[in-house]
Symmetry: none
Subunit: 157 residues, 2 copies
């Protein structure tokens, strides 16, 4: 599975074009769709992205819900309807749709942020502010130093 690491800031030109970092592109190499899938994050002013295989995994988790349930409705309404396919041009660039640009408040620069199996696109200053806060949370709770306690099905709410 593709692993997206590190953070890269690239320029967004007047047409909304921006280069996807080469490291991210090579992480997607081998997938059938030559590009990414992108959707607005519902927690942050950011764009959540991944390869088509990642999208298929999300689709499978949705299928775990009952077809007639409210959860199924809510997930499909947000997940699939707001997701766009953005194919690479010959130079590894994508064109950000205006809806995603306004959602992430992006102007002329975009931060590509690795998050493991997925990555996000942020307005750089917004991300730095968020990252500073997140680092404090992680270090205060010492989350990284050892594996967290294993979850069992019985304890989950």
């Amino acid at each position: 599975m593709a692993l997206f690491l590190s953070t890269t800031v690239n320029k967004v030109d007047t047409k909304g074009r921006v280069s996807v970092p080469a490291a991210f592109r090579s992480a997607l190499a081998g997938q059938t769709f030559h590009g990414i899938v992108a959707m607005p994050s519902f927690k942050y002013p950011a764009i959540q992205c991944g390869g088509m295989e990642w999208m298929e995994e999300l689709s499978n988790s949705v299928n775990a819900y009952d077809f007639f349930s409210d959860e199924h409705d809510a997930l499909t309404a947000t997940l699939f309807s707001k997701t766009v396919q953005l194919s690479f041009d010959g130079d590894g660039r994508i064109v950000l749709p205006s809806s995603l640009i306004t959602h992430a408040k992006i102007t002329n620069k975009a931060a590509f942020v690795g998050r493991g199996p997925l990555f996000e696109i942020w307005e750089p200053e917004d991300f730095y502010a968020y990252q500073l806060n997140a680092t404090n949370i992680a270090s205060e709770q010492k989350l990284t130093l050892r594996p967290p306690p294993q979850k069992s099905k019985e304890e989950k709410h």
Copy 2:
């Protein structure tokens, strides 16, 4: 699993290049990614490093947290976004990114410090000062001489 032992000091040239000690490289031999992964340490002005397999283990630990929780967000925002892949060149060297160089205050020399499953890169003088600190040594020895606590479901809060 790779084991990193002993300490080696190597030169950092004007391009930020530095040789990874041969012993560390041979410890990583056999892994699919020909290089290391590196991230800034939370606690010290040092760089924490390991092989890709080590990174995948960290990634799995993250998965133990609820996908939609703030802890999961905080961890991925710090872990993956600050981690970089550094591949070896033909001579076993890596290029340290400027962000990591400034974090560890490295100028023209780098100390590679073995820490078992991972290793750290320090500015040599900083590391000697840290190593000579009696309280650090004492606390670390207490940790290493004691077997790691067994995790059971009962201990969890």
